[in-house]
Symmetry: C2
Subunit: 336 residues, 2 copies
């Protein structure tokens, strides 16, 4: 790459002012006489001057860039969050460096380190638990981090999410209330605390309220994918299960289609409730009854919170963990 042709210095020379003045007009500093400002602006337009953000970043120690780590961009849940993040980021003039982590601890660590090297002003983290290594990395920097739409085994990080436990409890209770004898808990990796902790607790709590014993054989663990759900249909039919709370929409959609393709009638012969209210729940037939969450808003609010932290607004320490309201919609995968 050859030397940048028109720099702040070129503009300064052409407009017969100093670089300091050019810098001021570019950055909207009011201490510039209107005529001078206009003259500089004219030269800028004429020369098609484009300020170099890298140099600016070095001098000002702000890059107006935030890092976003996402497990899988093609997952509708995370994609929806990402949309909210991006929208408010661009509203606040931030750019986003987006990196897929594949939920792989090693890779996560690498991408975060890289993000930090790039001097991002902040990080939005979506994913599952954070490794000790990563924890140290976060601790060793004062770049603000917010966790979005996930629960992570590090309470020290600000986060924006819903109350997964309460939501799971309601979903399970809903199934129980309508007489299901046994409700399975079909989940993504139990290695993630959101599944083995929050949601499972909610599930158990609903069981307890209904005076049902927890039956270990009813928790069915998968990798959380559509394919996994589809494949599990057979096993679930064989087990004689008639109702299930599912922790993920892709998984639920797979299960539903697997069931249907195997001739099981949903909701008549099987009732199903899912967790995230992504597009998938409305795409399949029957449509899936689900916990609802304001996905876009979770992303948007996370980013908004991050902007505050980046501005050094450390007030409202109590607001650092934002729990948004969730809801519930009955659709076609449960009986009326």
């Amino acid at each position: 790459m050859e030397k940048q042709s028109v720099t702040i210095y070129t503009v300064a020379r052409e407009a017969r002012v100093s670089m300091a003045t050019v810098s001021r007009v570019v950055n909207g500093n009011p201490n510039v006489k209107p005529e001078t400002r206009q003259k500089v602006l004219d030269v800028i337009k004429q020369l098609n001057y484009r300020p170099n953000a890298v140099a600016r970043g070095l001098a000002s120690k702000k890059t107006t860039t935030v890092g976003v780590v996402i497990p899988d961009i093609t997952d509708p849940y995370f994609a929806e969050l990402a949309l909210g993040i991006d929208d408010v980021a661009s509203m606040y003039k931030y750019n986003i460096i987006l990196t897929n982590s594949d939920s792989d601890d090693g890779k996560i660590f690498k991408v975060v380190r890289n993000l930090l090297a790039k001097q991002v002003d902040g990080i939005i983290f979506m994913g599952h638990d954070v490794s000790d290594e990563l924890k140290n990395e976060f601790a060793s920097t004062n770049t603000p981090v917010v966790v979005a739409g996930s629960v992570v085994n590090d309470d020290s990080l600000p986060s924006v999410r819903i109350d997964y436990q309460a939501a799971a409890k309601e979903a399970t209770a809903f199934l129980l209330k309508r007489g299901a004898q046994q409700v399975a808990y079909i989940t993504g990796p139990l290695q993630y605390s959101i599944n083995s902790g929050d949601r499972l607790s909610g599930y158990k709590s609903a069981l307890a309220d209904d005076n049902k014993d927890f039956d270990d054989s009813l928790v069915i663990e998968t990798d959380g994918s559509y394919q996994a759900g589809y494949a599990k249909a057979k096993e679930i039919i064989e087990k004689g299960i008639k109702a299930a709370y599912v922790t993920d929409d892709s998984l639920a959609a797979g299960l539903l289609n697997g069931l249907t393709d195997a001739g099981v009638k949903v909701p008549d012969d099987f009732e199903l409730v899912s967790s995230n209210d992504t597009k998938y729940t409305k795409l399949v037939r029957p449509m899936i009854t689900s916990i609802t969450q304001p996905l876009y808003d979770i992303g948007a609010i996370s980013m908004r919170l991050l902007t505050k932290l980046m501005d050094g607004d450390d007030s409202n320490d109590d607001e650092k963990n934002v729990i948004l309201d969730h809801g519930f919609v009955e659709r076609q995968s449960t009986r009326k």
Copy 2:
């Protein structure tokens, strides 16, 4: 943000060498004695030194960052491409600045300008036509740009895609071959040349081969969304249409569900072929017969091509427009 605490200079001092040497070991320059290298490496680890990528970018004029402009990250088509892009980007140690353009000319221009200001080493552009303003912008820079999975009214830009015209022709012909009297062309905005040009030509060409006249009333334009498809079902039923080639999967899924919900049996009473083979086609029931394209590969190859261009490898000018093979799968939305 306070001054970075440990810099290359700190390391140099601690290791009793010059910054030049530290720079060399960090960048794997071979001209440094093994012991020296080891000593420096030790200090780096001990101090947890993290090279400042911004300073590096300024000095070296390379940011190892590429800009990606995407119309909508939640669209499964683009998300799938993005995944391929991200994977090979990280393979080549590039980061990605991802920006949603919302297919809005004004916003596109702004984000591209911003990307350029950030000194990205290259740009992957997904979207529709490029405005004159944007064309000038691309022309005024020598940052390489590649167009991925889209057709854009600027032949001068390298691109990676399939032959949309041929694919549309095959899809239409498929429907015609099995006796459909009239095949509708249900499309996203005709303002985009991919729809008004490539695909429509393919459609017409298939009609001509089958000695059918082109009927303007059979081209139905929408905004391309799921909702639009769903809403159009009524009109399509009223028009007595029995078969359609649809230019987008979201649109097709919406239409399919709209039809089904209105009591139309697909494929018995209506046959449907879609264009992109995204997850949506397999999620809905009946599953949608579709043109297939290697989505992930399109993204991956685009990025690979971009790396070559960024390396200044301008050989193979003929390879600058990569047309990948497409296919076709019969699924359940067409009769056997």
